[in-house]
């Protein structure tokens, strides 16, 4: 626990813009998540950075036109989770069909 932190936003934008700090994460999660979140219609900006190579931290920034940035982050994570589930299922099916073809 405590692997996710939130940097302070500013008054003008309120909840709409946030930078989240992911502890012990890097490009693996950052880029995969960004590739999904940046494709939401309400997202104006989405980017990630690993500010320093010696620190295992990843900064993930989301700016949305309406709604809250944190809700968009949650949606992104949920979508990535669904993507993983589907990839697993598809791979298992592909593996099974390969096995059945090549055992005989």
């Amino acid at each position: 626990m405590g692997r996710l932190a939130e940097l302070a936003g500013d008054e003008d934008t309120g909840d709409r813009c946030r930078t989240f700090v992911f502890q012990d994460e890097g490009h693996t999660l950052g880029n995969a998540l960004r590739s999904i979140v940046s494709r939401y219609p309400e997202v104006l900006f989405c980017g990630y950075t690993v500010p320093h190579p010696a620190e295992t931290k990843m900064h993930f920034r989301i700016q949305v036109s309406n709604g809250r940035a944190i809700d968009v982050l949650r949606k992104g994570l949920e979508d990535l989770e669904k993507v993983c589930d589907h990839t697993s299922k598809t791979f298992e099916a592909a593996w099974e069909s390969y096995k059945s073809e090549h055992v005989a």
Partner: protein, 347 residues
Amino acid sequence: MEKNSSVHRVILEEYGVPNAAEYSNLQANELWNFEKFKENLKIRVVKESQDGRELEFDLIGCSAALANAFRRILLSEVPTMAIEKVFILNNTSLIQDEVLAHRIGLLPLRADPRLFEYPSNPGNEEEEPSDQDTLRYEMKVTCTWNPQAPKDSRRPDDIYRNNNVYSRDIKWTPIGRQAELYPKGEEQLGMLEGDILVCKMRPGQEIHAFMHAVKGIGKDHAKFSPVSTATYRLLPDIKLTRPVKGEMAELLKNCFSPGVIEIVKNKKNGIENREAKVKDPRYDSCSRNVFRYEDLKDCVQLSRVPDHFIFTVESVGALPPSALFLEAVKILKTKCKTFIEEIDSIE
């Protein structure tokens, strides 16, 4: 350059990729739609090597970010077991203790990491290791003169015994309840390869050591990485824009990797005709060798399919590559889950 709007291709020209920006993955070209992703994603297993350690499959219809995430996780976040501590009781060989310990640490083990826990409190030297997270090994080798050495022979292998220490000299020893849990312990948990040379000795020298193996990930040390390599590349696509015949066909064939271009022979009006045809662009190295020949330059269009990844996983051997890929997907999913829980705890 002609461009079909429905077919996306990364075009390879003589110098560079003119439409690279379209596929930089930085701009969002399309809105996210999970149903569409589901529809587009296809996986096809292409081949598995004889020994079952190498797997090639096609991952079609996803972003490079996702393919790269799986590759990165395979390399550095899928766990395996490796020797982490070496207790040296006696080492009179020429190789220093720390060098020997390092070499032993790099030896691949057969143990399935899914059967074990991560070490509960790393760094605690005092506590007895638990049978849930530690495997114990022993090595005791002494080099001696061979009393039955053939006369006049000067070969080290003839005149000495145990002059080469191999990984097979390291034996698994059960701790706690492991003896009953793993009745076939040595085959299940022992060394993956028996013929890895650990060190060389001469008569009178001895190595006696105990080892503890734990579960870890490649991020911490490369010895924990479950794969020798995990790579992907984009599927090449080669189109001939005009017929290439005769001598030129032969030249064109030699510009590509073997098996990519074939020469079709046909007889027309009694004259034999040879024409080059694209047979299978899959294993082309995309060397762009054709562009070195002025008269062949404009016959071909080289490109790559931007969302067709040829994924190759080469396992070290503890787990089959198919299991490793599924583990990698599971790890990415666990990451998402962890952070969804984190969001719950923030709010």
